[in-house]
């Protein structure tokens, strides 16, 4: 398994720039999620790494070998990359076994044991080997596609929104099976997704792609708790944003005095909280009116209106829920992340130290 390094990659289709200088490093044996809204260039980046497209500028290195950028690009078939497309892309004219063995050398293609062990690796019954793709469920197709990609022992596995076409119930199981198979083979993997929960729960590090550049590359916890700017913050999860003035590491806000999670110069700031940091009670404290309650069973999302008219949400346990229209008091647990007001794109305060994963 080898590391992937992408340096300064740009790509335009006609006059439309899609990638505007992307740098990305994926350490060997880890999984990186490429997260971004539709049209942010994540699939283009994946296709460039795979060798289906060539970058306009920049280099792609795979295990220390430059495969695109210097001289003739190495064609896809010589890169040793496993590719799992959206909806699987199984060859409809081949059986499951034929699909899995497609990339193996000719003498190994009839090796039933090999196919069986690959199917087992992705959590499938070896009895499926003689089925044709259309006899499989969507989740099974995705697993076969992964087994096919892993069969030739690739140096890197690329997964293009592999779970987006699956039902919610199937998605969790398939995702776990895929992660387990990737871990078991120690594969280096890049997973493209637009689902932030999927990115946070699957990957060792998450690369947020925005407008053709890398907005932030961090491990999931850092990304969620200490995002670089408010856009990233809102993209990776629901955000509660309040205004206030920072004085000596504290901020006076509508929800009372908040402790800042990282150093920040005194002055006007916007602070970020997550909905699960808000606790509702009938006791004393800052008041808010309940606008709506979405009950999910395991928890609930309560939409609140603060006295200033600002709306924020709180995530609470599903047990004792207020009614819409009720007055509640709000307490905040944990620290808030400050973003000084006035800097153009909400540039962050310098982090004290990279947070450990």
């Amino acid at each position: 398994m080898s590391a992937l390094s992408v340096t300064g990659v740009t790509k335009s289709y006609g006059r439309t720039p899609v990638l505007a200088g992307v740098d990305l490093h994926v350490p060997a044996g880890t999984t990186t999620a490429l997260l971004g809204p539709s049209g942010c260039g994540k699939t283009t980046l994946l296709r460039i790494v795979a060798g289906f497209d060539d970058p306009d500028a920049g280099t792609v290195e795979l295990g220390g070998r430059v495969v695109a950028g210097a001289g003739r690009p190495v064609p896809a078939r010589r890169r040793g990359i496993g590719f799992v497309p959206q909806e699987g892309g199984l060859f409809p004219h081949l059986t499951v076994a034929g699909n899995v063995a497609f990339g193996l050398p000719r003498r190994l293609r009839r090796d039933r044991a090999r196919v069986a062990s690959l199917l087992e690796l992705v959590g499938l019954d070896a009895a499926l080997a003689d089925r044709t793709p259309h006899q499989l469920s969507g989740g099974q197709q995705q697993r076969v596609a992964l087994a096919r990609a892993l069969a030739p022992e690739p140096s890197l596995v690329l997964l293009d929104e592999p779970f987006s076409s699956l039902d919610a119930s199937l998605r969790e199981d398939t995702r776990r099976a895929v992660v387990a198979a990737l871990r078991a083979t120690g594969a280096t993997a890049v997973l493209v997704t637009h689902d932030q929960a999927e990115a946070l729960s699957t990957a060792d590090q998450v690369a947020v792609l925005r407008g053709g550049v890398l907005a932030q590359l961090a491990d999931p916890r850092t990304l969620y708790r200490d995002p670089r700017d408010l856009d990233v913050a809102a993209f990776v999860g629901e955000a509660v944003v309040l205004d206030g003035d920072a004085v000596g590491g504290r901020v006076a806000s509508e929800l009372g005095e908040l402790v800042l999670g990282r150093a920040c110069p005194d002055g006007p700031v916007r602070v970020l909280l997550r909905p699960e940091q808000l606790r509702l009670s009938a006791g004393p404290g800052p008041r808010a009116r309940v606008c709506a309650v979405d009950f999910y069973g395991h928890d609930a999302r309560v939409e609140l209106e603060l006295p200033s008219g600002r709306r924020v949400s709180a995530r609470t346990e599903g047990g004792d829920l207020p009614l819409a229209g009720a007055e509640v008091s709000v307490a905040v647990t944990g620290t808030a992340v400050p973003f000084p007001v006035g800097t153009p794109s909400g540039a962050p305060c310098p982090s004290p130290a990279p947070a450990p994963a």
């Binding site: 296709r47 795979a50 060798g51 289906f52 064609p75 896809a76 078939r77 010589r78 890169r79 040793g80 990359i81 496993g82 590719f83 497309p85 909806e87 699987g88 892309g89 199984l90 060859f91 409809p92 004219h93 497609f102 990339g103 793709p133 259309h134 469920s137 969507g138 197709q141 096919r148 990609a149 069969a151 030739p152 690329l158 076409s165 699956l166």
Partner: protein, 506 residues
């Protein structure tokens, strides 16, 4: 790209020939040859036959499709097969069946009956496919809004059927314009039969070419009219998920009349020709059946059809590929020119190839290659449509995946692309094969001396009023066409690729 351009150029040879000839004759010559009473008479004949046939076919086709797809008329599956069955009987055989039974059948009414019955499936099949593609939820919604069955048909179903029915009507019109055998046998003169007579009389004078020119103009007018009428509106089922089953409309007291109408159509279009054929077959065989000649002729026909199927499919591959994988104005232009080329009646194509081969490569005149070229021009769209559908079924994604698994370009072609395209290519070739088996007009003009096919042998016998001798050839043609017709009736709403179509189900 170059290959596709060459194919398009071949398809446009007949049109080019007409234009060149028209320029050669000059405006005065054209006025003299075209603006005369005989041409006016032909124009009236042709237009009223085409118009009548389109109206009858649309009424029969849409009505029958509604009965089979949306009403509770008994025996819907059987009716469906019987309504498609006329496709297995070439129009000139139907014509022969009628005129040999009723010698006084050579009137406008007779011609209209024969062509309408022969070509009604061209409207019926797309109408059935469109009915099956309609979302029943729309009809339920309309009923919920208080519409009657007739109101649902007129305000919901008919507008959605428009594209399919227009396409079918265009096919009927083009076929009637190009119909030669059936009308010649009924002695009903149209441009096509006149071109043939002119050609026989003066071999290849400007007279024939100019008549052909008028005929081609009529075809172009039809094509343009269809494009204008069709418009750009698309209808699609909104929302995902499988369409629910349709609850058929109960006919009640109207069941008997509906059954009677269907029975009448089937009796006229299927039963009469078959009875007549069987009768003449009996007469013919009692006089002694020449099995050797029949076998040789069948052999020649099958060989020609097989060769034409291979040639046409090979020609169709580059165009079908480009149309999907390199979408753009050039690919569209190349694809459309092959369609335009084959909208030209067979008689014109044959005439053009006769002249062009004599002028440019005299050695090729009346040889198999020229005949195959004519078949290719005539039937390219059938092959292109299926190849195109097959290419659409095999997205470039599979190529990418195979590349990432280390397969080289030739290996990808061999292990992925060809297996995926094979059913489509095969279906296209089969369609061409069957069309060639019953092709009459171009074969009459272009077949090498001494080469007879089933159609031309049938033609010469029946032209000599030897109805009994003609019958066996007709029977063989019908038997050869029957399997394809059964397949067509089954696969209306699915396409020709039932296996490849079922791709990964999400």
């Amino acid at each position: 790209m170059l290959l596709a351009a060459a194919v398009a150029a071949l398809a446009l040879v007949p049109l080019g020939h007409i234009v060149v000839a028209a320029v050669g004759v000059g405006w005065d010559g054209i006025t003299e040859l075209v603006f005369r009473p005989r041409v006016a008479e032909l124009l009236v004949n042709t237009v009223r036959l085409v118009g009548g046939a389109v109206v009858v076919c649309v009424v029969l086709g849409v009505g029958a499709a509604w009965l089979v797809e949306r009403s509770a008329v008994p025996g819907r599956r059987v009716w469906h097969v019987l309504l498609v069955a006329p496709l297995a009987v070439p129009a000139f055989v139907t014509s022969y069946a009628w005129i040999s039974l009723l010698p006084g059948f050579d009137t406008y009414g007779g011609a209209l009956l024969v062509v309408s019955l022969s070509y009604a499936p061209f409207v019926y099949l797309p109408a059935v496919a469109a009915f099956r593609g309609l979302d029943p939820a729309l009809e339920d919604t309309a009923r919920g809004l208080g519409l009657s069955t007739w109101g649902v048909f007129r305000r919901v179903q008919l507008p959605q059927l428009r594209v399919a029915v227009l396409g079918g009507a265009l096919l009927v019109a083009l076929h009637v314009l190009a119909e030669f055998g059936a009308l010649a046998m009924l002695r009903y003169p149209t441009f096509t039969t006149a071109v043939y007579d002119q050609y026989r009389a003066t071999f290849n004078g400007p007279g024939a070419t100019m008549l052909a020119g008028v005929l081609v103009l009529l075809c172009l007018v039809l094509l343009l009219a269809e494009i204008r009428l069709r418009g750009a509106r698309g209808y699609a089922r909104t929302g995902a998920g499988a369409a629910r089953a349709v609850r058929p409309v109960r006919l009640g007291a109207l069941t008997a009349p509906a059954l009677l109408a269907l029975a009448a159509v089937v009796a006229l279009s299927v039963a009469v020709p078959l009875v007549s054929l069987v009768r003449w077959m009996a007469t013919g065989t009692s006089a002694g059946l020449d099995v050797d000649t029949l076998a040789t002729t069948t052999g020649t026909t099958l060989a020609l059809a097989a060769a034409a199927a291979v040639v046409t499919t090979v020609f169709a591959l580059p165009t079908g590929w480009l149309a999907v994988r390199r979408r753009g104005p050039v690919a569209t232009l190349l694809e459309r020119s092959t369609y335009l080329g084959s909208a030209v009646p067979a008689i014109v194509i044959a005439l053009a190839l006769v002249t062009v081969s004599i002028r440019l490569v005299p050695g090729l005149y009346q040889t198999v290659p020229v005949l195959l070229a004519a078949y290719a021009i005539l039937f390219l769209p059938r092959a292109i449509v299926t190849v195109r559908a097959a290419v659409e079924q095999s997205p470039p994604l599979h190529d990418d995946v195979a590349a990432s698994l280390g397969a080289s370009a030739p290996a990808r072609l061999w292990r992925v692309t060809l297996p995926l395209l094979a059913p489509g290519i095969g279906a296209g070739a089969a369609l061409v094969f069957l069309a060639v088996v019953t092709e009459l007009t171009a074969t009459l003009l272009l077949a090498p001396t001494g080469t007879t096919t089933l159609a031309t042998a049938f033609w010469s016998a029946s032209s000599a009023l030897e109805y009994g001798a003609a019958a066996p050839y007709a029977v063989v043609m019908v038997l050869l066409s029957a399997p394809a017709t059964v397949l067509l009736s089954r696969d209306v709403s699915r396409d020709v690729l039932p296996a490849a179509r079922r791709g990964p189900t999400p």
